[in-house]
Amino acid sequence: MAKILRINMNDLSYKWEEVPSKWETLAGRAFTSTIVSEEVDPKCHPLREKNKIVISPGLLAGTKAPSSGRLSVGAKSPLTEGIKEANAGGLTATKLGRLGIRGIVIEGMPKGNDWYSIIISKDKCEIKVTNEYAGLGLYDLTTKIWKDYPNKPGIIGCGIAGQRLSKAAGVFGNNIENTDPGRYAGRGGLGAVFGSKRIVTIITDDSEGKAPEPKDSDKFTESITKLREALRAHPVTGKLKDDKGKPFGGLANYGTNILQNIINEAGGLPTRGFKSGRFEGAAKISGEAVHEIVDKTREKFGDSAEGRYGHACHPACVMRCSNVVPYEDTGKHHVGPLEYETAWALGTNLGIDKLQDVAELNRLCNDLGLDTIETGNTIAMFMEAGVIDFGDGQAAIELLKKAYDEKSIEGRLVCSGTKSAGEALGVTRIPVVKGQALPAYDPRPIRGIGVTYATSTMGADHTSGYTIAAEILGVKGKVTDPRALDKAELSRAFQSTTAYIDSSGYCLFIAFCILDNDDGFAGMKGSVDAFLGKDIDVTEYGLAVLKKEREFNAKAGFTNADDRLPEFFYTEPLPPHNVTFDVTDEELDMVYKDL
């Protein structure tokens, strides 16, 4: 029977609760968003006592279901001031699943200046003063923790940025090998909520745990087999090499950064602070470039080379889109993973085309505990304001390093989020929705994602409803007017399916396959149904999550006027297609009109 661990930081106590029957089917994002919406005062200050952190492994985490070890972290966001769920791989979800923990709810905040860690193992919880863990870079911290806790635990928590309540702070997680703290539930400033409760880490040891039992084992096994086969056979999510030894799966070979060149060609790659849709240096920082440098350093340094592609972000992953970028001159681990969004935020968006500079900026974010998308956009504000130049990788690195100095105002500002920094620096082109910075698809040529950015409960978020292709096709209305497609319906359908997947524990990337392949879809739905012993309607389940999130945001004070893009997207045409975002307010309001 799954349990809830409820921790009260006011008096440093905890209790185990049964999962109430009304929450029986909830996990992952459905669990975090339900508890946040039912238990957190929508008007509360996100960095004070009344906010809560809710952590939940996806429903199937810890089972043998392929790519099912995702973790959801939820709270009221200090960045958006609305509800937030951020999602990550790493070790913790699998381990919590194996300990039978459906969720952790953290309430209150302690008095005094101590820093704490929460240590979880089979039926045990300890809230421990760990002042020695505070103030450390996260590479050092995760290494230290694996020495202190030899059972190779999952670790999540906040770094220096979160400990200083910076709004760009993400929740880090260690990777499977504990060589990088780069598994981030990055968005929305949730690292700062950890910091506000003076929690540096949550350490999860599952050595006495076991895989959770599905209600219908036969159907579960049959379903996950179907899904696994569909994933492995799909050219995007498939295995690393085909039967003849040639590169096959796009994600396994090139990671999510496979998108760098292709979105560039489509003219939707936001460049130098959303001024162009094409970046002349895209190929140099692309997934293909990472693949090339990994092969090159392997050839040169043999077994001591640490660069990787086809790397798994969590134990059950079969898609393996993660990577490790090596230092070119030594072949040693520089940073992992370098994702598309990060290569864009810290590369393309800053006009930086040196892969090693981008990797270094990524490593600094991982070490400081920062969301790369928010931080890249924040550095772009410094460039937009003329403090440093677009394209100057070394200046960006020096700027970010100032964040280690707690007395540095520039250091604080670079961690404060795009909106805060942009306003402080007098920038008027600030790419945020609901206070959260836009990711790596320009909403002008890719209008469907623009609708998702505008209407998502999470602020500008590409993962909330990934509607890229149809809209790119409709860029020029050549084949048909893109308006003929019901964008509101498209966006809502994708947002609800996304909410379901974010709750199942499956990685959102299975969508690339399951929406193409009926067997894959049946495998996904069948495995969730078999696990719960219930027939769950995908869209209804997802819509119920969205509804709760919308209600929370409404009570927090959000209205339709917040479901808009910044003005410059409506007025500045983006080359090369020279289009503006021209979806009307009425069309945007249609997305959630009848919810």
């Binding site: 050219p235 995007v236 498939g238 590169p247 096959f248 799966g249 796009g250 994600l251 070979n253 090139y254 999510t256 496979i258 998108l259 060149n261 292709i262 979105i263 060609e265 489509a266 003219g267 849709g277 094409r278 190929a283 140099k284 692309s286 293909e288 470039a289 693949h291 090339e292 440098i293 892969l355 990934y466 509607t467 890229i468 292709a469 149809a470 790119i472 096709l473 860029v475 020029k476 050549k478 084949v479 048909t480 003929a484 497609l485 498209l490 359908a493 994708f494 990337f509 969508a511 690339f512 396959c513 399951i514 929406l515 193409d516 090369p576 297609h577």
Partner: protein, 90 residues
């Protein structure tokens, strides 16, 4: 196709223009087959087999496993990569 090309650089090949040539005819001329290709573009717009090339066009070719990572092509009316789907809005 291009000697000395690198994954970390754009590979550019100048090709003679043939008036009235469609994308399907063009890739045949290049010695490629449809199943070797993923999403491809003409002047930044996703192409279909019957799309016609114009003089001076920028044609972008991506291999079979490089697509817009979208999923749900049949729902969203994807152009080139999927021809075995029931519904194609385009």
């Amino acid at each position: 196709m291009v000697k000395g090309s690198k994954a970390s650089e754009d590979t550019i090949l100048m090709v003679e223009f043939v008036k009235g040539e469609t994308f399907a005819e063009f890739i045949r001329r290049m010695g490629l087959t449809r199943d070797e290709l993923g999403d491809c573009f003409i002047d930044g717009t996703l192409t279909r087999p019957q799309s016609e090339l114009r003089e001076g066009a920028r044609v972008a070719l991506f291999p079979f496993n490089m697509v817009l990572l979208c999923g749900g092509q049949h729902l969203k009316g994807h152009g080139y990569t999927r021809d075995d789907v029931d519904v194609d809005y385009y």
